[in-house]
Amino acid sequence: MSLLNATQVEGGYGGMNILKGVDMAIDKEDIGVIVGPNGAGKSTMLKAIFGLVQVNGGDIQLRGQSIANLAPNKLVELGMGFIPQEKNIFPSMSVEENLEMGAYIKPHTTKRMLEKIYSFFPPLLEKRKQPAGELSGGQRQMVAMGRALMTEPTLLLLDEPTAGLSPLYMQEIFDRIVEINKAGVGVLMVEQNAKQALEIATQGFVLASGQNLYTDSGHNLLNNPEVAKSFLGG
């Protein structure tokens, strides 16, 4: 049984289906990467899994339990974490308060997890009293990831974690994602930097017009000439 199993998901905003039957399965050893052209429904799929987009058909299961259309706070309790693409921090709150908000539903673990997050992202320890809005882009992304990790999720969803970051930070964030995955957290992310992302992916999903086009390991997708030509810029 997979950690996450989405079958024939249909959904979208206000009755309009952007997703037209998408399948996706992720295990806890997996790093799943969703790639595809603009408007393919990549972010919509991620949001549908996290209860932010109405699911109108198909089913989404977490460890065999249906989670379609559950509220995000219920999903956090079930062990999911979500990092939105932008506006993924509380800018006027300090770094530490940002992290505390991540553990809102599990306040008793806050202290232990803070130490863990600070040792995982050492730059955040120095800046823990600073408003998160004053940090650099890469450090903000660390705050965003730290916040989502505070509940010790078993499945982490990331919406374009490297958008707008310099190549140096991009590699750093990908390295961290691999480390998080090795610690036993299933990862599913949407990425524009498709090539670099597929290099670390165990599962790759190519979406187009709200449907699966290719589903394979990251390695195979990178070596698939048709995928390379159409979606990876040759």
């Binding site: 706070n73 956090v76 979500f82 939105p84 506006k87 509380f90 800018p91 709150m93 908000m101 809102y104």
Partner: protein, 334 residues
């Protein structure tokens, strides 16, 4: 010396009194705005409503505060704060929540709150009539006259019991609010929701609960401010009419969505009002001998007449919106 005492009585004390009322009111407006992103026009009527509850309770049990040595309205205040908090939650559940869940634009909820204002004003008049009433039933207001230890000062400092209680209450409310927002889990969740609603929801914060806590704070503070004001002057059903503009001016001057800004804005508007209606001739008169002969002090040297006090917050509001639309503290631009 007497003139200085007069200045303290007329400006420092009365500015602190109206400033405190505006500050408490503006905090409520700003909290509601920062969580739900709409200007709540019915806020001032919750003040009148709270004061009315205190009045009814006082009329039902007159003199019951004597046992504790406090005025009865003060004894009834906590109960009225709770009732007003419930009213605020009820109004939200009935009128604003359905609109919010439909995902309407904030302006629609603002208009709804205008409707609630009219409704509340009608209800208040239905039950209390249109006349003003004293909050002191079978009791007298304690007035303290503090003689100053100077020979030259023949006039005493005058301050009333509700004024002292109001200033102390405001101070405690500010400290309490600060600790609540910075030290408690729910307070931090409120700040988080004000910062980024979507991320708050994604983090597992129960946004409905935060909304409820916001109404409890706004409603109970409104009831307190209304009661203190009514104890200081009198309870009249059009109380809110004269409060709405200064309170919104205070919230906007301070930077909307910024609780500390609202407090600063409240005192700024309060003092601006009292300073502009103060007759400065009184302070200048003792210096008359030093002026050249051709200077004659006018009898009244106030900026605006008392009856035009309401233009002061209006002017401040316009000035802020033109020159610094985000307010003193950086608030959310509307």
């Amino acid at each position: 010396m007497n003139e200085l005492v007069f200045f303290i009585n007329k400006v420092l004390i009365s500015g602190a009194v109206s400033g405190s009322i505006y500050a408490i009111g503006a905090v409520g407006v700003t909290l509601v705005f920062s969580i739900m992103r709409f200007a709540h026009f019915a806020h001032a009527d919750q003040m009148t409503f709270g004061a009315l509850i205190v009045f009814f309770l006082t009329a039902l049990f007159p003199g019951s505060g004597a046992a504790l040595g406090i005025p009865t309205p003060l004894l009834m205040l906590p109960l009225a704060m709770a009732v007003t908090a419930l009213l605020a939650i009820g109004i939200d559940k009935t009128f604003y929540k359905p609109l919010r869940e439909h995902g309407v634009k904030p302006i629609v909820i603002v208009i709804a709150s205008l409707g609630v204002t009219l409704m509340l004003q009608g209800l208040i008049r239905l039950f209390s009539g249109t006349s003003s009433r004293s909050m002191y039933i079978e009791e007298t207001k304690a007035i303290f006259r503090l003689d100053l230890p100077f020979d030259l000062a023949a006039r005493p400092l005058v301050i009333t019991e509700p004024q002292i209680t109001l200033i102390v209450f405001t101070l405690l409310a500010v400290i309490g609010l600060h600790l609540f927002l910075n030290r408690t889990r729910t307070g931090k969740a409120m700040r988080a929701m004000s910062d980024n609603v979507d991320l708050a929801r994604v983090s597992g914060i129960d946004t409905n609960k935060v909304v409820m806590v916001t109404w409890v704070l706004a409603g109970s503070l409104a009831a307190a401010a209304g009661t203190f004001l009514s104890m200081d002057v009198s309870l009249s059903p059009d109380l809110s009419f004269f409060l709405l503009l200064p309170i919104f001016a205070a919230a906007i001057v301070g930077g909307v969505g910024h609780p500390y800004g609202a407090i600063a804005g409240g005192y700024l508007v309060g003092y601006a009002e009292t300073l502009s209606v103060f007759n400065w001739t009184i302070l200048l008169r003792p210096l008359n001998n030093w002026f050249p002969e051709w200077v004659e002090l006018p009898r009244n040297l106030s900026l605006v007449g008392t009856e035009y006090k309401i233009v002061v917050p209006f002017f401040i509001l316009v000035a802020v919106l033109i020159w610094r639309p985000t307010g003193i503290f950086k608030g959310k631009v509307i």
